[in-house]
């Protein structure tokens, strides 16, 4: 404050006006921040109170209860209209989507198994013919597919590769542990 009065020219009214404006602005901002802070604390206390939880819960419950009959009527009407027009309903589309996801999962498992087979084949080829690794699978597709079957069978005996199968195995092991 003392620094400010030293640099202010008392004969310059505009400079005094600027200082006043600046001070007022700072004060206003500080007032705003202080009031927001206290308001914020108050609101946080409020939303963390049991009364607020109760009021919100009851309001939501009332809203959902009131909207249910209307929703049921709309759903029934839509079902009748779509059936009349011989068009699929929402449930038909969603069940189709669920089936697609199941197919996707199976394909993903097949993909992973194929990757495993390819990897095993490459490892076996590398160990049998260390100098001839790059020529194994792509150049002899018939031999390759034959070998795939053998390796796959051997692999399935030795190791379980699928996700769903792994889950089952783990579940059994876990159960067995629990029993003992």
């Amino acid at each position: 404050m003392s620094d400010q009065s030293e640099t202010t020219n008392p004969l310059d009214p505009f400079e005094s006006m600027n200082t006043l404006w600046e001070t007022n602005l700072k004060n206003l901002k500080s007032m705003r921040d202080t009031s927001l802070e206290s308001w914020s604390k108050m609101m946080i206390d409020m939303v963390n109170s049991d009364e607020y939880s109760q009021a919100t819960g009851q309001w939501l419950d009332t809203y959902l209860t009131m909207s249910q009959p209307m929703k049921r009527i709309i759903d029934m009407t839509m079902t009748q209209v779509l059936t009349g027009l011989n068009m699929p309903m929402r449930s038909d589309v969603t069940s189709l989507a669920e089936r697609l996801t199941n197919i996707e999962m199976r394909m993903d498992d097949q993909d992973a198994k194929l990757d495993d087979i390819l990897h095993t084949m490459q490892t076996l080829s590398a160990s049998n013919h260390p100098a001839d690794v790059s020529t194994v699978t792509p150049t002899h597709p018939n031999n390759g597919s034959h070998a795939t079957g053998e390796i796959h069978a051997a692999k399935m005996k030795g190791k379980n590769t699928g996700v769903s199968s792994t889950s089952k195995t783990d579940a059994v092991q876990h159960k067995a542990k629990g029993e003992h």
């Binding site: 927001l36 109760q54 819960g57 959902l64 969603t94 498992d109």
Partner: protein
């Protein structure tokens, strides 16, 4: 925003008016448009239903990279690009530069056909396949997994159900796992009120609308979220660094996605209300989730000012797991600010990196 000087000359007045015009344009732009987010180069390597697995293009030569890949699993009710918000403020970009082989699981936006998806599906149908893919692509039998918020619940469940699947390092960020204290935080109080029925919400909407979840999160700190955030922008309209940061964060905050109804029901009933996970009573597709089976190295990061997952919900897992190597890291900041705020680059990310680097060889 407002000049601290009274314009005295016509030139000063004109300059002041120009500044007001520029600031008004900035305000309009950042409140009505979407920022460019998720800029770190990546490729999608796997998809299932709406979920996608991304691998980030490494920038460090293979011989200098860490051997153990890192899989990031974010929450279900927000987009995962908060981990890659914008260049210079991106956890993913940072970790890629530190030499990690980084993978991100994006759960996607559930449609009405996904309303029956629950934790069982997300963990055993999706996460197991994602991990299989990560291992196949990286060629590593071991992997690290970072879960944030509900992503941390999913990764914890996975770690307990498949402890011998190669999980070497488990990183949990603001993990809501223990709901013993029914007075800790607004969410726990709200959903434990006897008039609150999650089943009714699910039967009315199918999936829980993003707007409803967003309201719940914002209502925990209403003044900060509905007023304070905009005042911060107003005060800093002439500061491009703060404006662009605000724009990116606002883009993420307003990018809402619904939550699958069955998952919401399971989250509220089995976790928030019955607290089954920490008590070892949660059952996923017939298997009990026993946290003592977790033996991976554990880094548990909690935010001291977290109002969404208060620290008491995250701390107790340290005593439940069998991990010999475990660390509880407490950082300043809130639920999101801890990882995406200005202090993240200086504190949180380097700490995560230094912990993980030692355990990724």
């Amino acid at each position: 925003m407002v000049s601290s000087q009274v314009p005295l000359t016509p030139e000063e007045l004109q300059s002041e008016l120009q500044q007001i015009e520029v600031n008004s344009r900035t305000l309009l732009r950042v409140t009505t448009s979407r920022a460019l987010v998720a800029q770190t180069p990546k490729e999608a390597i796997w998809t299932l239903n709406k979920a996608k697995l991304y691998r980030y293009i490494p920038v460090v030569p293979a011989e200098q990279r860490h051997k153990v890949p890192l899989l990031l699993v974010f929450a279900l009710m927000n987009k995962p690009y908060i981990l890659d918000l914008r260049p210079g403020n991106s956890f993913i970009e940072y970790m890629v530069k530190q030499g990690y082989d980084v993978y991100l699981l994006d759960w996607g936006v559930p449609g009405l056909e996904d309303k029956d998806l629950n934790f069982d599906n997300y963990v055993l149908d999706y996460l197991t396949r994602v991990i299989r893919k990560v291992k196949a692509v990286s060629g590593s039998k071991e992997f690290s997994m970072l879960g944030w918020c509900i992503g941390a619940i999913l990764t914890t469940i996975y770690a307990a159900l498949r402890p011998d699947d190669g999980l070497k390092n488990l990183l949990l960020l603001t993990a809501p796992l223990d709901f013993t204290d029914k007075k800790a935080g607004g969410f726990v109080r709200w959903v434990n009120d006897k008039s609150f029925d999650p089943g009714k919400i699910v039967s009315a909407f199918g999936n829980v609308p993003g707007e409803m979840i967003d309201y719940g999160a914002k209502a925990l700190k209403p003044v900060e979220n509905y007023i304070g955030s905009y005042l911060t922008l107003w005060d800093n309209l002439d500061n491009p660094r703060i404006v662009e940061s605000w724009h990116a964060m606002n883009t993420w905050v307003t990018d809402l996605i619904p939550m699958a109804g069955a998952t919401y029901l399971q989250l509220i009933k089995e976790l928030y209300q019955e607290n089954r996970l920490i008590q070892g009573k949660m059952v996923i597709r017939g298997e009990r989730v026993d946290l003592s089976r977790i033996h991976a190295n554990l880094l548990n990061v909690i935010a001291l000012a977290d109002h969404i997952s208060p620290p008491c919900q995250s701390e107790s897992i340290m005593t439940k797991v069998s991990s010999q190597d475990q660390l509880l890291l407490k950082v300043k900041g809130g639920h999101i600010g801890m990882m995406a705020g200005s202090g993240a680059l200086k504190f949180t990310w380097p700490h995560i990196d230094s912990w993980l680097a030692e355990r990724s060889e």
